[in-house]
Symmetry: C2
Subunit: 410 residues, 2 copies
């Protein structure tokens, strides 16, 4: 099936907005074994939109993103209608719906804008928008499906998943089934070799591996005509191989998974951060409900704070430096003894670009973690710029505590 | 000038990577008054790349991004060469350069890969890559400029700015001059009306305003044939209007600007965070050199921590709740008295999706800040999902302390 996407908006081409919608839709389709054949991004300009449509005409599914608002630069409805030679009409029931949607939120819209926002292309079916005023519009053109979706991520995401994706899947004669698993706390090379070994001998599976922000993702896909049990079997084997290192589907992030592991064990954690500056605590509180696994944290950026807040000894800092296993051990001691928590992580490192020395170059980070009857402090060497070093430190600290909880069977 | 971009990579269409390169290049060009006419994103597939080239042929500048690595799915060099009917050859001096680049980093590359990575399209000029092994390749085709750039952001960014952008600007007959200013700590509507008022009467300027992640950006552009002093005059007027609320060019973020303001005043700050979970401290330490303005912070997620670490009274929490101005005042007291800092911010709020009540719905956030002889605690109501509420709280807290420093002339 040939699926193409046209993104419309000056802001995407001038760098004012990063196009995250393409990645979102691409990933959702990939999880169902479908590929995007091409994407085109054009400005809010009638001729440019028409050019893009001409180049994508012939696709089985053509998705337009953006340009559905009520202002003069929102041209998608008009461009699609004029390309197809269709009329546009104001839909009175949509208009009433928009008025009540806005009313519930104590907002309103000028009449001229309201009329534009209520425009529907003839023959189009509307897709409900639960987070905004612009509905999606779906046009069937022979066997092809054209969908107009709004640009704001919080509007397009539920609309795509709940309303458009099912209609795309209906069109597939033979669904390519897929299995996606995410593995945490293990490096890519080990995940790849273990996974390939685990599924050896299961025929007809396509294997893909990808480094995500905080874990490694494996995606297996299977053509409809191959062994129907292949994916079930692969799932069993991967579960056996990786066990609790597999992220459960309901966990959005590895930090969320650590939270769930702590909650299951009735443990509360805290953080002591230097180079990450609060990034670990921010990741651990990213998910709703995080008060069930984290009580708090300290960012001890200055050495004075490491001493006064966590009780790191001045002598330790002088002899071993702030970025040392001895210092991180005492940061963990501080969390355990001064703050009385049962689990925690501590990090101290050189995120760069300055501060490196021949013995401790930029990217040197000491990470420690503890849980009841378990503690581990390790030195890591990360490459990359400041942001990357900080992000890798956040991930490694979270993964270290996960490893501790899983390996000690707490 | 017609500038088009072709991004190449399966990972962009499957959602494994968000295409940030388009936004980066789009913004750099916009800052020089140039627009991207269209972008196309295609998979690692020879036919798809050829289709995209055919559709973009005729552009004055055609930029290819990605697919320059040494593996079999890196097809950009071969696709461009075969489209143009050009040969590809292994460039021995490039090969030596790659070997020594890798040697300095104690890495190596298999010979087969090294040969591919040393391939150059005939007539191409090489653009140096200081952060990777794939050089850029520049082809002049009549008056048109075709550039092949590597995909990793840390490689393409310096290459684009240092080597490609100057060559694009050389091609412009009449440079559209632009002026970009960023305003912090003021809402968009006020920035817009003040800015429009400030530049009233200066003819021939195009005005654009855009909400960035942590500030409001105004971009003025001026055609080459209009009043040569228009931008200088506009700059003076905007400086007079917004004064210290303008972010200096050297500040990457509003947090960085706050850091510079603190440093200029010889003040060190600390943070006390609840709903943001460390996000303010993380933002304040995002920039290298941040140890000159922040000593540390506490994340008091649990009420116990608010009491034990910051000294918030149990009675205050019971009577007013954790999300209250009374609680935030006591969090600030804790920073001042227990941690002895001269400036700081404290936040407590309901990021959602749970935890809202009719009196304090999701999005209710109390933000406080202090500096010598100044303190302010305010209640905000933010809309959006959990992430958005947290991000807006981080920005508002940073902006509140900036306002305090500027308005009290510290």
């Amino acid at each position: 099936m040939n699926i193409r996407i046209i993104c419309i908006g000056d802001e995407l081409l001038s760098g004012d907005t990063v196009n995250t919608n393409l990645a979102f839709i691409g990933e959702e389709l990939a999880n169902h074994g479908l590929n995007v054949a091409a994407e085109t991004c054009v400005p809010d300009d009638m001729d440019a939109i028409h050019d893009a449509i001409r180049q994508s005409d012939g696709a089985d599914v053509l998705i337009f993103i953006g340009g559905l608002g009520p202002t003069t630069d929102d041209l998608t409805r008009a461009a699609v209608a004029s390309y197809l030679g269709f009329q546009i009409r104001v839909d009175e029931s949509l208009k009433q719906h928009i008025i009540s949607y806005l009313g519930e939120r104590r907002r309103n819209m000028a009449d001229a804008y309201l009329d534009i926002q209520s425009q529907v292309i003839d023959t189009a079916e509307l897709l409900p928008n639960n987070n905004g005023t612009a509905p999606g519009q779906l046009i069937r053109r022979g066997n092809a499906l054209w969908a107009l979706l709004p640009g704001p991520p919080r509007e397009i995401k539920p609309m795509f998943i709940n309303f458009l994706l099912p209609k795309i899947l209906e069109k597939c004669d033979s669904i390519v089934e897929t299995l996606t698993v995410r593995v945490c706390a293990l490096p890519e090379s080990i995940v790849e070799s273990k996974a390939r070994h685990a599924i050896e001998g299961i025929s007809g599976l396509h294997f893909a591996i990808c480094i995500k922000k905080d874990c490694i993702m494996i995606r297996l896909s299977k053509p409809a005509d191959s062994n129907p049990q292949a994916l079930d079997l692969a799932k069993q084997r991967l579960q056996k191989e990786f066990g609790h290192y597999l992220l459960p589907d309901e966990c959005l992030t590895t930090a969320h998974y650590l939270g769930i592991l702590l909650k299951d064990r009735h443990l509360m954690m805290a953080t002591a951060e230097s180079c990450t500056g609060g990034g670990i605590a921010a990741a651990m509180t990213d998910t709703a409900g995080s008060s069930e696994w984290i009580v708090g944290g300290v960012v001890t950026y200055a050495n004075e704070w490491k001493m006064n807040v966590l009780g790191v000894h001045e002598e330790t800092l002088q002899r071993h430096g702030a970025v040392s296993e001895a210092t991180v051990h005492q940061m963990l001691d501080g969390l355990q003894m001064r703050f009385d928590v049962q689990a925690g992580v501590a990090v101290s490192g050189i995120a760069g670009p300055g501060g490196g020395t021949p013995e401790k170059p930029v990217g040197t980070v000491v990470i420690g973690a503890f849980a009841p009857h378990w503690r581990c402090v390790k030195t890591f060497h990360f490459s990359g710029l400041r942001d990357t070093v900080r992000q890798r430190t956040v991930n490694a600290a979270i993964n270290l505590l996960i490893t501790g909880l899983l390996e000690t069977n707490h």
